[in-house]
Structure formats: structure tokens, C-alpha cells
């Protein structure tokens, strides 16, 4: 049995300890907002927060995270969202960032983490923080604009 603290709840699950967090989240907990894109920490679609820091769930064995507070997109932009989570979602919506949308949970998770530690990121900060998140629809220009927009919303 593996114990998890996820989205403010404690869960006990009967899974192999080597199972990547991604598949526990998606297949066991049915939190499907976190996506599978590459499985090898190359695309960021599976980004979740571990004690507030962005990590790639596809390369995080479940046995490594028993002591951490895990948060997924459902929580981070949901009703208990932080002000950064709310600002990022509002900015994403205002600018119609999404196309196919498949990468966007991961993008928003990385963006929230960035804005939590850096209130006013420069383009360069954004490139550094977001370079691990691939968007095959290439919505990057709007992602950048939305992060600046979210930063402005946080100032206000």
C-alpha cells in the first residue's frame, strides 16, 4: 500500500512502488487533467506540483513522493486555487491561448510555479521556466503573453 497526499486529500493505493506518479494520477485517481505526452521528461504535459515545485510526473516513481504534497491542475486552478493559479487561468482564458489544449495543463502548471517564485518574469525567465513544456500547436507566443498578463493581474 502506498500513501499519497494529493490535492488536499490522503489516499491509500495498492500500486507497484515503481509506478510513475503520472499513471497513478491518471489511471487510479482518474485525475485526467494531467497528460501523457512523452513519458521521458521531454514534454512537460505531465507537470504536477510537488510541495509547490513543478515536476514531471512521468519520471517520478510513486515511492518517492509519499511525504510530499502533490497538486494537479484540478486543484491548482480549481476552487482552492492560489492567487497565482487564478491569475494564470484568467490570463489563459482572456488570451484564448489554447488550441488542441493537450499540453495546456502542463503549461499552466509550469506558469503557476514560475509566478509563485518570480512575480515579474522577463521573457528570458519565461523561456527558462517554460522550455521543458512542448506545445506542438506552437501556442508559445500566447503562453508568453499570458504569463505577462497573469503577472499584471497579480500586481493589481
Amino acid at each position: 500500500m502506498i500513501k499519497l497526499k494529493i490535492n488536499g486529500e490522503e489516499r491509500e493505493l495498492d500500486v507497484d512502488p515503481d509506478t510513475p506518479l503520472l499513471w497513478v494520477i491518471r489511471d487510479e485517481l482518474k485525475l485526467t487533467g494531467t497528460k501523457f505526452g512523452c513519458g521521458v521528461a521531454q514534454c512537460g504535459a505531465c507537470t504536477v506540483h510537488l510541495d509547490g515545485s513543478p515536476v514531471r510526473a512521468c519520471q517520478t516513481p510513486i515511492s518517492d513522493v509519499e511525504d510530499s504534497e502533490i497538486r494537479t491542475i484540478e486543484y491548482v486552478v480549481g476552487s482552492s486555487a492560489s492567487k497565482e493559479g487564478k491569475a494564470v487561468q484568467a490570463a489563459w482564458r482572456a488570451l484564448d491561448v489554447v488550441q488542441c489544449g493537450y499540453c495546456q495543463s502542463g503549461q499552466m502548471m509550469s506558469a503557476v510555479a514560475l509566478l509563485t517564485t518570480n512575480k515579474k518574469p522577463s521573457d528570458k525567465d519565461i523561456d527558462t521556466a517554460m522550455n521543458g513544456n512542448v506545445c506542438r500547436c506552437a501556442t508559445y507566443q500566447r503562453i508568453r503573453a499570458a504569463i505577462h498578463d497573469a503577472a499584471k493581474r497579480l500586481e493589481a
Binding site: 512523452c38 480549481g78 482564458r93 489554447v98 489544449g101 522550455n131 506552437a138 501556442t139 500566447r142
Partner: protein, 737 residues
């Protein structure tokens, strides 16, 4: 290659045109598949919504649901169709919902294909009259119902934002009259009784800013559902070991280790590999990785990409097997010309690499089949599913969900991933629904690439610097040969998708010859966002640039002089040049360059001006792209801008560094570490300007892609004096001049 798919050992499913048409009911109906129409099943009516016609439902609470017959894989067609309906119904945008149509080609055919499917940037164009008709007839039914109830003339009634009102003060919502109005079902075909469409000057939604995408909310809170996210009760997840070489098949396998993986339930051999079925995805992946499979390579493609490119290069060094265009006497004019420029081009295989790897859910039960996936070519998928399952087509249901990208990959003449899911479901005798999951590696190595091509162009200019002859040879695999589309798109040995964009050269050149040699290879190929234009635009738009320089003329002015009878090409070219601050003869400071390209594809016109910087390490950085587009009347300007921004990024990533390569028949790239996608740090600033137009709307999903590579190459030339004719640019280092 021939598109045949093994369904069982020794039994081949013939997916050729003949068998397709036999099922479809003969060539006379084009690609239309004759299905029995069950009105009740035509649209799964939810929450008491009243169906007005196959495209519009109104619920008692006033919500209008638009049935979207096209797959939305990010291009925004759900938003586009919803906008058209809301506009013509005078509905309240806030109450608009969308739902994907079921697979039913009788109701939901793409009128451009006469088959249900999405592609060729046709969605808005083919739906324009159809959805407007559906909306105005639904609106008229509501107005008539109100007129009857209020005993007033219908002509005195007005509708604003879903509220029906009469000058007497009577008011009602769509919802109040839905039931009564919906009873008088009207077929949405234009007839003399069809109420007139709205005058475009009265539009409040079409062409307007500020409308948000219909999928904006669900894709920003994690609730949008893709195939990958579905959990059907009792379902098993299947992950398949595929052969390393195309055309190989499993000889034998050892599943002892695979079966030890907790959660693995069953292992089945299928013609395309060996499938591991498990209770969850991770167990299926682990099980698959633990399989030991021996492959029979007897019929496999064993050549590497170098050998395949050599075959293409060899072909363009000789006269083409087929001639696509021949006006005047290009070879004769070249012989006598003052100045001839000759150039060779090479283009690699490209993977679509949609963000969501291919997947599908298949259920086989009681002689019926249900498929759930991001289905893009439902007519073909229905046909393939019925053949694979051995059931009549009216026993096949296909539910379409949001797709995490496609770029063409989900519309496959063999429905490969759907057929595989269904074959597995059949292989376990339908005992559980099967979700087939391809990993990124399965997707990248799974074939159906943009074909590899070689081009050779010889062009000549006369004493005045203007082109007198253009002789263009192209060689590569044919996308259409062997598919159901062959009769429509392959004529006299010319697959139009191999030459489109070159065979119809926009520039007026008196002597033009375009030849094609089709190469046969066992690597499955497919359309890739903008299809033939992905390579023809590069050859044409860099060559015209070479000619302009050889003539000592400005590249924009030179093009315009050759586009005198092409006002829409000229229009976007002028607009892009103006917005980019293009100045004839201007040389940017050392290390920087500006280039231009203009191209028509899918009846839309796009010009792009690219600014680059050559970095100290000799690599190229794209700073800015200014695009101008003419796609006729624009339904959603922001969606058009988004598609061009995305098209630029998609094409740029490929031009900079994407190639699928094979060594002895084995694909070398498996994930994003080797097939390196464009990342945010690579993304230039993109500006999109739209030419106002009242022409019928045309496509925008693809036309943003073709100009970017040649405009980039021309900008690199301006900065370095070096021509980029082969793609991708890769690790090449440049020196500024």
C-alpha cells in the same frame, strides 16, 4: 506501397479503392457511404434538447447546441461552426454549446469530399452554406412558433441574443418555443423556402473580435476529455510491440516475463505486432517492454533514408516519369537563355508528433462495434471498422472526442490505429473494451510520415531579368496511390499532392514544365499539415528569390511584377511587406537578414516576412515573422490569427531541425530528445494581418505553414549570402556578410 492491412494471418483486408467503392455503393456516389439513417441516433439528444435538424438543437433552458461534424484538433472549427449558427439564429453566444457529430456520412459528410472527414482546410468552406441554412431554418421555426402562439404576423417579430420579441411587448426565449418549433423538422438544404441569410453588414459575431473559443474553459481547467482520458468500465489498456521495420510481422514471441507484470491480463498476437493487455497503462507498458518478439523481416523495407534519398536524387537527375504541367517549351527556352540557375533540394520524412499520441477505444459486443477516438475521417474509419470486425457498417458506431492535435495524422486511409484497437478487441473475443495506447515512441516510429522528396529546378531569366523558363522535377513517394482517394487525386500518374504548389506556379513564366517521378518504398506516408505545399513552396519561393537576386531586383517588387494577374497573392504580399517595414534594397545591419515568401494553399493566400539574427555561434535565431493572410470572409479573426501563429511555429520547428531518419529500415528517432520540437525559446514574435474580404471563407488550418521555411531561408540568404535548399537546417553554422 499498397494499403493493405492484415486482419488475421493469411487474410488480407483490401483497403484499395475498388473494395472501398464496392462497399460505398459504386463510383457514382463518390465517397458517400450509404448508411441507414436512424433519426433517433442521428444526434444523441441530451438533457431534453430538441433537435431542429442534424446541426442544431435547442434545450428548454434556451441553450443552443451546435452539432460539429468536423474533428476539432485545435484548429478551432467547433468555435467557427458555433459562431456561424449563433450569428444566423441571433442566438446568445453565452448559451452556445457544441457536440461532435456521430459518424454518419449521410448527414455529416464534408461537402468538399462527399465523405465524412476533416482535412484540406475545408471545414468552414464546405460548412458555410450548410450551417447557415441549418441556423436560419431553426430560427424561422422558432419565430413561426412564437407568431402562432402570440397570434401575430411572423414578419413583425425580431430576435436578439436568443430573445424573441414583438412590438406589442410580448417576449420569449428560444427555450419556450423549442418544443413546438422543433416538431416541424426542416431539412437543412438550401431551397426556395430557405429564409435569406443575414446581410454581412448586420453581423454581430462573425468577423468580430472578443469572442472566446468554445473550448477555452474546458481546456484551461483540465476537464476537456480526450481519448487518452476515457475510462470505460471493465476496460483493458493495450500497448503493442510493433516491428522495428515497416512491413515486418511477428514470427514468434515469449511472454513469460510480460505475464509476470502485475496487472497484465493477456497477450495476443495481431498482424501488426504483439499486444499486451493490462488493467492499467503502466502495467501494459511494462508488459510490452518485457516481451521478447522475433520478427519476420522478409517483406520489410530494409533501406535507410540515405538510400531512399539517393533514389529520389537519381530520379530528378533524369526526365520525370509523368508530367504534371507543360506550357511552352521550358527545355528549349533554357537552352537559349542568357542566365540559368540550377538548384537541388532535399526534404526529409517528417512525423506529425501530435501532442496526444495515437489512441482509440474499441468495444465489440453482440455483433456491433463501438469506436471512441479523435476520429478525423469517419467515412474511412466506418469502412475499415466494418471490414476488420466483419460486421455491416450500420453496426459500427464512432464517437468523436477532442483530439490533442493531428496535423493530418488522425485521418489515415487505413485507419491504422483504429483498426489496431479493434483487431485487439476482436482478438480477445470482445471480452472487454480495449483502449489502445501508443507511447510517444510508438507514435514517432509508427510511420505515416510526410514523404521524403528531392527537387531539381532549372530556371532562366532573360535580358530584362524576368524569368523565361522554369523546369521543375520532383521525386518522392505518393501519398494517394493505393488509397480510396486515388481516383480523385492521381491523374495520368501524377499524384497532385506531390506537385501542388509547383505545378500551378503562381508566377507568370512563359515556359513551364513540372515533372514527377513517384518512388516506391515501404515507409507509410501521409499528408502532413499543408501536404505537398510543405516542400513545393520551399523550392518555388527560394528559387524565385534566387532569380530576383540574379536579376538585381528587389524580391518583393520582382514577385509583384510576376503576379499581375494574381491580385490576392499580390494583396497579401504587399500587406506583409508594408507591415514589416520592408524597404526595397535595404540591407539590415551585419548579422541580420530579412526574407519574404508568398504562397497559396487550400484557396487561401499567405505572405510572410521573416527577420533573423545570425548568433555568434553561427546558429540562426528567428526574431520576427510578419504574416498577411487572405482567407476570404473571416468567421473568427482571433482563430485565424492563432492558426497562423501556430502554423508558423509548426513549420519553423520542422525547417530548423526535424527529420525522421532510417537506418537499415529502422526509424532512429523515438522521442522529443531526437525529434526536437520547437520550444518557447525558439518562438519568434509573430504578427498576423488579415486582408478584409467578402469572398467565401476558405481554409486557415494549413496555409500558415508553407511560407515560413522559404521566408526563413531567404532571410538567411540576406544575412549570409548562403542559400538553404535542403531541410532541415540542423546544426549548420552560418557566417554573416
Amino acid at each position: 506501397m499498397t494499403y493493405q492491412q492484415k486482419i488475421k494471418d493469411g487474410e488480407t483486408l483490401d483497403l484499395s479503392r475498388r473494395s472501398f467503392l464496392a462497399i460505398a455503393g459504386g463510383a457514382g456516389v463518390g465517397l458517400m457511404i450509404g448508411l441507414k439513417v436512424d433519426p433517433a441516433a442521428a444526434a444523441n439528444t441530451a438533457q431534453g434538447a430538441i433537435e431542429f435538424n442534424p446541426f442544431v438543437k435547442v434545450s428548454p433552458d434556451g441553450a443552443v447546441t451546435v452539432i460539429v461534424k468536423h474533428l476539432d484538433k485545435g484548429q478551432g472549427v467547433a468555435t467557427g461552426l458555433a459562431t456561424i449558427v449563433a450569428e444566423e439564429m441571433d442566438a446568445d453566444w453565452a448559451t452556445i454549446r457544441t457536440e461532435f457529430a456521430p459518424a454518419n456520412p449521410n448527414l455529416y459528410a464534408n461537402l468538399a469530399f462527399k465523405a465524412q472527414g476533416t482535412g484540406g482546410s475545408t471545414s468552414i468552406a464546405n460548412s458555410w452554406d450548410q450551417y447557415r441554412t441549418a441556423a436560419v431554418t431553426a430560427r424561422a421555426a422558432l419565430v413561426n412558433a412564437a407568431a402562432e402562439a402570440w397570434k401575430v404576423p411572423a414578419g413583425e417579430i425580431t430576435v436578439v441574443k436568443g430573445v424573441i420579441s414583438h412590438p406589442s411587448g410580448k417576449k420569449g426565449s428560444f427555450g419556450e418555443f423549442a418544443e413546438k418549433a422543433g416538431a416541424s423538422k426542416t431539412p437543412p438544404a438550401v431551397s426556395p423556402q430557405t429564409p435569406p441569410f443575414k446581410n454581412p453588414t448586420k453581423y454581430v459575431l462573425i468577423g468580430k473580435e472578443g469572442l472566446h473559443r468554445v473550448d477555452n474553459d474546458s481546456k484551461t481547467d483540465g476537464t476537456a476529455i480526450y481519448t487518452q482520458d476515457l475510462h470505460v468500465p471493465g476496460m483493458l489498456v493495450a500497448v503493442v510491440a510493433h516491428p522495428p521495420k515497416f512491413g515486418a510481422k511477428p514470427k514468434s514471441f515469449d511472454d513469460a516475463e510480460a505475464k509476470k507484470v502485475k496487472g497484465v491480463e493477456q497477450v495476443v498476437q495481431i498482424p501488426t505486432g504483439v499486444a499486451v493487455l493490462a488493467k492499467n497503462t503502466w502495467a501494459a507498458i511494462k508488459g510490452r517492454n518485457a516481451l521478447k518478439v522475433e520478427w519476420d523481416d522478409g517483406a520489410a523495407e530494409g533501406r535507410g533514408s540515405d538510400a531512399l534519398m539517393a533514389a529520389c536524387k537519381d530520379a530528378v537527375s533524369k526526365p520525370g516519369v509523368a508530367t504534371a504541367t507543360n506550357t511552352g517549351d521550358a527545355e528549349g527556352a533554357l537552352r537559349g537563355a542568357a542566365k540559368v540557375i540550377e538548384a537541388d533540394y532535399a526534404f526529409p520524412y517528417l512525423a506529425h508528433a501530435a501532442m496526444e499520441p495515437m489512441n482509440a477505444i474499441a468495444e465489440v459486443k453482440d455483433g456491433a462495434v463501438k469506436i471512441t477516438t479523435g476520429a478525423q475521417f469517419q467515412s474511412i474509419d466506418l469502412f475499415v471498422a466494418s471490414k476488420v470486425a466483419g460486421v455491416p457498417m450500420d453496426k459500427v458506431t464512432i464517437d468523436t472526442v477532442w483530439a490533442g492535435g493531428s496535423f493530418g495524422r488522425r485521418a489515415v486511409p487505413t485507419s491504422d490505429y483504429i483498426a489496431e484497437a479493434l483487431t485487439i478487441a476482436k482478438g480477445i473475443d470482445g471480452k472487454a473494451p480495449v483502449k489502445l495506447v501508443w507511447t510517444r515512441e510508438d507514435d514517432m516510429k509508427g510511420g505515416y510520415y510526410r514523404p521524403m522528396y528531392a527537387h531539381k529546378v532549372k530556371a532562366a531569366i532573360g535580358a530584362d531579368g524576368m524569368p523565361v523558363a522554369w523546369h521543375h522535377r520532383i521525386a518522392g513517394q505518393s501519398i494517394m496511390t493505393g488509397t480510396a482517394m486515388e481516383p480523385l487525386l492521381v491523374k495520368d500518374g501524377v499524384d497532385d499532392t506531390s506537385v501542388e504548389g509547383a505545378s500551378n506556379l503562381a508566377y507568370s513564366v512563359p515556359n513551364l514544365k513540372v515533372e514527377l517521378t513517384t518512388i516506391k518504398a515501404g515507409v507509410p506516408v501521409l499528408w502532413w499539415r499543408s501536404v505537398g505545399h510543405t516542400h513545393t513552396a520551399h523550392a518555388v519561393e527560394t528559387m524565385i528569390d534566387e532569380l530576383a537576386f540574379a536579376a538585381g531586383k528587389d524580391p518583393v517588387e520582382y514577385r509583384l511584377a510576376l503576379l499581375k494577374d494574381k491580385p490576392r497573392h499580390a494583396g497579401v504580399l504587399k500587406l506583409a511587406a508594408e507591415k514589416a517595414g520592408w524597404k526595397a534594397g535595404e540591407k539590415l545591419e551585419k548579422g541580420r537578414g530579412r526574407g519574404v515568401a508568398v504562397h497559396e494553399s487550400f484557396n487561401s493566400f499567405v505572405a510572410q516576412v521573416v527577420d533573423v539574427t545570425i548568433k555568434d555561434d553561427g546558429q540562426v535565431k528567428v526574431d520576427r515573422v510578419v504574416a498577411a493572410v487572405d482567407c476570404g470572409l473571416v468567421v473568427n479573426p482571433d482563430v485565424v490569427r492563432a492558426q497562423v501563429e501556430g502554423g508558423v511555429g509548426f513549420g519553423l520547428g520542422a525547417a530548423l531541425r526535424n527529420a525522421v531518419t532510417l537506418k537499415d529500415g529502422v526509424v532512429q528517432e523515438g522521442n522529443f530528445d531526437k525529434y526536437k520540437p520547437l520550444r518557447i525559446s525558439d518562438m519568434p514574435h509573430v504578427e498576423v494581418h488579415i486582408v478584409p474580404s467578402q469572398e467565401k471563407p476558405t481554409g486557415i488550418g494549413e496555409p500558415g505553414v508553407p511560407p515560413i521555411a522559404p521566408a526563413l531561408a531567404n532571410a538567411i540568404f540576406a544575412a549570409t549570402g548562403k542559400r538553404v535548399r535542403d531541410l532541415p537546417i540542423g546544426d549548420q553554422k552560418f557566417t554573416s556578410v
